[in-house]
């Protein structure tokens, strides 16, 4: 079981590093083991491209979301699931990063993702788009929407 943990840890760290470098176009990322005879905790240590190593607290809102996504997707790879559900995880990202996040999504092989989003770029990465509306007040209705970019719904912000 301890060896299984070590193997899993290695898979996660490697995937985390690859995802991070792809998300930020460079930089470094690693997982830090905190030990006291035995393993007591796992910390994150990253350097953004062009910047110096700094306490995690100093990272910006969007940088934290992207770093978290790089690690979260690494966990998904280590322990695959039947499908994945992401609810508005891209809210704090600028346009460029929404694009990078959408690319990370598309590159996940053999995985099924259901994502809720307000971002046009994320919608363009999808194979199908379902619009949830409330024409009748208080009651939800779902319509399937075509994916031509000129038909992407106006309530995208």
């Amino acid at each position: 079981a301890s060896t299984l943990f070590e193997e899993t840890f290695a898979v996660i760290e490697k995937a985390f590093q690859e995802n991070f470098i792809k998300m930020f176009d460079g930089g470094e990322a690693r997982l830090v083991r905190q030990e006291n005879g035995e393993l007591t905790g796992i910390d994150i240590d990253v350097v953004l491209p062009g910047k110096r190593r700094q306490p995690l607290e100093l990272l910006s809102g969007g940088e934290k979301v992207l770093t978290a996504a790089a690690l979260q997707f690494a966990l998904f790879k280590a322990r695959p699931s039947l499908f994945y559900l992401l609810d508005e995880v891209d809210n704090a990202l600028d346009e460029d990063n929404v694009h990078r996040f959408a690319r990370l999504l598309r590159e996940q092989e053999d995985s099924q993702f259901l994502v809720v989003t307000h971002n046009r770029e994320t919608m363009l990465a999808a194979d199908v788009l379902y619009g949830v509306t409330m024409q009748e007040s208080g009651v939800s209705k779902v319509v399937s929407l075509r994916l031509d970019s000129d038909e992407v719904p106006v309530h995208a912000s």
Binding site: L4, G41, M123, M134, E136, G138, V139, P153
Partner: protein
């Protein structure tokens, strides 16, 4: 691809029978604030054994039943059904598909069904984990939850890694 379809009726704002075909790699759910996108996510999680009321943004299981609106009366039960593809009988149930359904009534009575047969919550959990594919809450990232892995204490992250391994 495992996820095939979702059917919702009477769950939160889905007063009417609603079915979504989900056999696609990437599905995007879009719409205005308060239209029901996260409610749809809640229906999926609830059917797949989510028991944490806070995660479902409810105070009691009865909050999950459509409570009426300005123009509609409340309904007496909520139900949701998820259909999975079952390639190579990975679920061990024998069929081409596996249908998992959950219902809750105003009486607080609650049903779990696998392929139409009444079972217990733990039976549904067993079927979901029988594939060897991870489940429970970690493949679901709710609104505002993405940075949680970042803001966790190192001890909590170690526990999370152990669960994954």
């Amino acid at each position: 691809m495992y996820l095939k379809s979702l059917h919702i009726q009477g769950f939160k704002t889905f007063e009417q029978s609603t079915t979504l075909e989900l056999s696609y790699p990437i599905i995007a759910i879009v719409g205005p604030n308060g239209s029901g996108k996260s409610n749809l996510v809640d229906a999926l999680r609830w059917t797949l054994c989510e028991q944490n009321l806070r995660t479902l943004r409810a105070r009691s299981m009865l909050d999950l039943i459509f409570a009426g609106s300005a123009t509609r009366r409340p309904v007496s039960y909520a139900e949701a059904e998820v259909v999975f593809n079952n390639p190579g009988d990975v679920f061990g149930t024998g069929g081409d598909t596996v249908t998992v359904a959950r219902r809750i009534f105003r009486s607080k009575e609650s049903d779990f069904l696998i392929d139409g047969k009444s079972v217990q919550l733990r039976d549904v959990e067993a079927v979901l984990t029988s594939t060897g594919l991870g489940f429970r809450h970690y493949p679901f990232i709710g609104q505002g939850e993405m940075s949680r892995i970042f803001t966790m204490k190192p001890e909590e992250r170690k526990t999370l890694f152990e669960e994954v391994a």
